[in-house]
């Protein structure tokens, strides 16, 4: 171990050279550490995004097959007619609860949201509508001889009225907490409680705050609604909670009262099914399963099929778009960080190798002396490596201490980048044209006595989801862990080793006679 002792003497004696090497090595390690921290931070962010975003799989009726069936039955019945399907014969099977529960028990299901919607008419209160609609409805009511019960609306131009096609949307759910509007943050319970599994078969309802204020309804009150097709059928609903929605009425909802977000009443899905009719008992329009790991989406689909899901009747539609959009910038950052690590390591190796080469040229005489004493070449190389190792330890300490600050700076930059990315994601996804009719409503038109009515919430939650996740990423705590320090040490060791090996090619060729005698 004599070469280690020599390395110590040399390092101690040549302070200037040691300081220079320490400075260069520290700079290299700090850059590598920055890369490792970015990598680690982006991995953490990805993990967090995975956990928080989840991914959703929607179980609903297979519309394509339903259309095909409708078309083929039409052509069988009337071969002389055209192939065009008869819109009136279009029938859809709702999702039965047994299937819903079977899939809910599969691995990786974090939560699920049953959705069953329909429309009713307000009886003991007035739905919120616009002036335009009032005029439209007024003329239509007059022409159809309907007995409208119009009243002036208290909320800045809004008016309440009743519609023969239903002016209130009943959003049946198993749990408001898992309903898309609530998970996305669009809706929030402000008073009372939400709908839970305990409310199955109950008449509990959660109404929007504007509707409650306009009609002076509070938690504990009972409200009445009627079937949209038969006003004699009256349902009593007990208000257990009031929620506030940040969703605003668009042009469509201004024309159709039931589409106004303020006119949505959340009830248990069993109540919605009851309104829809006996055919809808123990069924749902659609179910959204939230998976704990978005990357296991394909596995979920396979497991669902294995569990006996009838894919002719039902379809599973996966949606990890938000997750993918959130992950993309993180993956870019991670890839960028990886490149930094590789680039700095390579550059660091070259720089250190050059320094060591110069150092060795300067110490040719010393090498000659050692060779003349019969010292083995690998021990001479070992001495240089030991010297660099001593410098590495000091540089590691310096990089480790400054790495804390580097980590913070890098973390801030990452968050800033993520915030920008998330903002653009929200704009892209939550913008006009993205939110369409909800799956539930879209798929159940014309079915049952009341006809189901969706408000497009299933898709419109994307932008809100992104915003929610941006908030979660802001909470990330990026720290320098032991793992990164160990990795950094590994990189430093590899760089030192490579630099010495490259520089030692010259040592292997050196002849003591040439050095010492000539």
């Amino acid at each position: 171990m004599n070469f280690i002792k020599r390395a110590f003497y040399s390092t101690k004696a040549k302070k200037g050279r040691t300081l220079l090497l320490t400075f260069v090595f520290s700079a290299i390690l700090i850059f590598i550490l920055a890369g490792l921290t970015i990598q680690s931070a982006s991995l953490k962010a990805t993990e967090n995004a995975k956990k928080s975003m989840g991914a959703t799989v929607t179980l609903s009726t297979n519309m394509e097959n339903a259309m095909k069936k409708s078309s083929s039955s039409d052509s069988d019945d009337s071969s002389d007619k055209s192939d065009r399907p008869d819109p009136g014969s279009f029938s859809i099977t709702p999702v039965d609860l047994d299937t819903v529960n079977t899939l809910a028990k599969l691995d990786n299901v974090a939560s699920y949201s049953i959705s069953s919607s329909t429309s009713v008419n307000a009886k003991s209160f007035d739905a919120i509508s616009s002036e335009d609609e009032e005029e439209d409805e007024s003329s239509s009511s007059n022409s159809s001889n309907g007995g409208n019960n119009q009243q002036g609306g208290p909320n800045g131009g809004m008016q309440m009225m009743r519609m023969s096609s239903g002016d209130i949307t009943i959003e049946g759910t198993n749990d408001t907490a898992t309903a898309s509007d609530f998970t996305s943050g669009t809706a929030k319970i402000t008073e009372g409680v939400g709908i839970t599994e305990d409310d199955v078969d109950s008449n509990h309802a959660v109404i929007e705050t504007n509707l409650a204020k306009a009609n002076d309804i509070s938690v504990g009150d009972t409200i009445k609604v009627t079937d949209s097709e038969d006003e004699d059928i009256v349902y009593k609903l007990k208000v257990v909670g009031i929620y506030k929605t940040s969703e605003t009425a668009d042009a469509r909802s201004m024309r159709m009262t039931a589409l106004n977000p303020y006119n949505a009443i959340y009830t248990s899905y069993t109540f919605a099914n009851k309104v829809k009719g006996d055919d809808y008992k123990d069924s749902a329009d659609s179910v959204i399963y939230t998976l704990s790991d978005p990357e296991k989406m394909d596995t979920f689909e396979k497991d669902a099929k294995k569990a006996g899901l009838d894919t002719d009747t039902y379809s599973l539609r996966t949606n990890d778009q938000v997750y993918q959009q959130m992950i993309q910038p993180l993956e870019n950052v991670e890839s960028f960080a990886k490149k930094i690590v590789i680039l700095v390591s390579a550059a660091g190796t070259v720089i250190l190798a050059l320094i060591v080469i110069l150092m060795i040229r300067e110490r040719k005489y010393e090498i000659g002396v050692l060779l003349s004493l019969g010292e083995k070449r690998f021990k001479i190389i070992g001495q240089f490596f030991a010297e660099l190792l001593a410098v590495l330890i000091v540089a590691l300490v310096i990089a480790g201490v400054s790495g804390k600050f580097v980590g913070n700076i890098v973390g801030e930059q990452l968050l800033e980048q993520q915030a920008t990315t998330t903002a653009s994601t929200s704009n892209n996804q939550g913008g006009p044209g993205q939110g369409g009719p909800g799956q539930a409503g879209g798929q159940n038109l014309g079915q049952g006595r009341s006809g189901n009515f969706g408000r497009g919430s299933s898709f419109s939650n994307f932008g809100a989801s992104s915003a929610k996740n941006a908030k979660q990423i802001e909470d990330l705590n990026i720290t320098l862990s032991l793992k990164e320090l160990v990795e950094l040490g590994g990189f430093g060791l590899a760089i030192s080793f490579l630099a010495v090996i490259i520089a030692s090619i010259g040592v292997m060729r050196m002849q003591p006679k040439k050095i010492l005698i000539s």
Binding site: N2, K5, R6, Y9, S10, K12, A13, K14, Y365, E366, G368, V369, L370, L371, S372, L373, G374, E375, K376, Q511, P512, K513, L516, I517
Partner: protein
């Protein structure tokens, strides 16, 4: 016979310009040899051959009957020969004592307490403990050469070769160095070969070989 040079020929670029032609020499233990020659005659090249720093073009060198090639040049330098250079060749970042201890470690000296032994040996050549702990670059030429000789003495090699060891020294120091070499040969039983161009130094040696016209001839000096 400790060292035998058998039919050795050496040239740099041209065989026709060979430095030696069929050199045959033997070196015994317990004797101090000097190889005398003018500048450029090939004295130092000869030293590099017998010190295992280079190999002859033809012929061979045997150490106690074994070819240096067989022993291996690195092993030979490590175990069987110590070299003293004109420019001392000490490790510049170490003290005198550390230079000696390092060399003893490299050559796997059997001395139990190497540092104490190095101090005592340095003391013998007039290097005090205080001086011995100083960086070698702070010592005078004579002191450095003495350190280099002590290094050779401590390494336990039975063959010591010195290349112009007094070349950079004044007369007083030169004579002191010669005295040390004599001690190495006569008291410690080592074979010491000194390369020099100074006749006064050569005269002090037991056997003087003069390199002239590619041949080594033994010189006899009258006291």
């Amino acid at each position: 016979m400790m060292l035998e040079v058998k039919d050795v020929n050496y040239w740099y670029n041209n065989k026709a310009d060979a430095l030696y032609e069929n050199v045959n020499l033997t070196f015994e233990k317990g004797k101090l040899y000097s190889i005398l020659g003018s500048s450029g005659s090939g004295k130092t090249t000869f030293l590099s051959l017998i010190a295992g720093l280079d190999v002859p073009k033809t012929g061979e060198i045997l150490y106690e009957g074994k070819s240096l090639k067989k022993i291996g040049l690195t092993n030979y330098r490590n175990q069987y020969v110590s070299i003293v250079f004109q420019s001392y060749n000490l490790l510049p970042y170490m003290s005198a004592v550390d230079n000696i201890v390092s060399a003893m470690e490299i050559t796997h000296s059997h001395q139990a307490n190497r540092k104490d032994y190095a101090f005592s040996m340095l003391e013998k050549v007039g290097i005090t403990k205080e001086l011995a702990q100083k960086n070698v670059q702070h010592l005078s030429g004579g002191q450095q050469q003495r350190v280099a000789i002590v290094r050779a003495m401590c390494c336990e090699a039975r063959l010591v070769v010195a290349d112009e060891p007094t070349g950079n020294l004044d007369e007083k120091n030169s004579l002191e160095i010669v005295r040390l070499f004599k001690e190495l040969a006569h008291d410690q039983g080592k074979c010491v070969i000194v390369i020099t161009h100074e006749r006064e130094i050569a005269k002090e040696c037991d056997i003087v070989l003069e390199l002239k016209h590619k041949k080594f001839n033994e010189l006899q000096f009258q006291n």
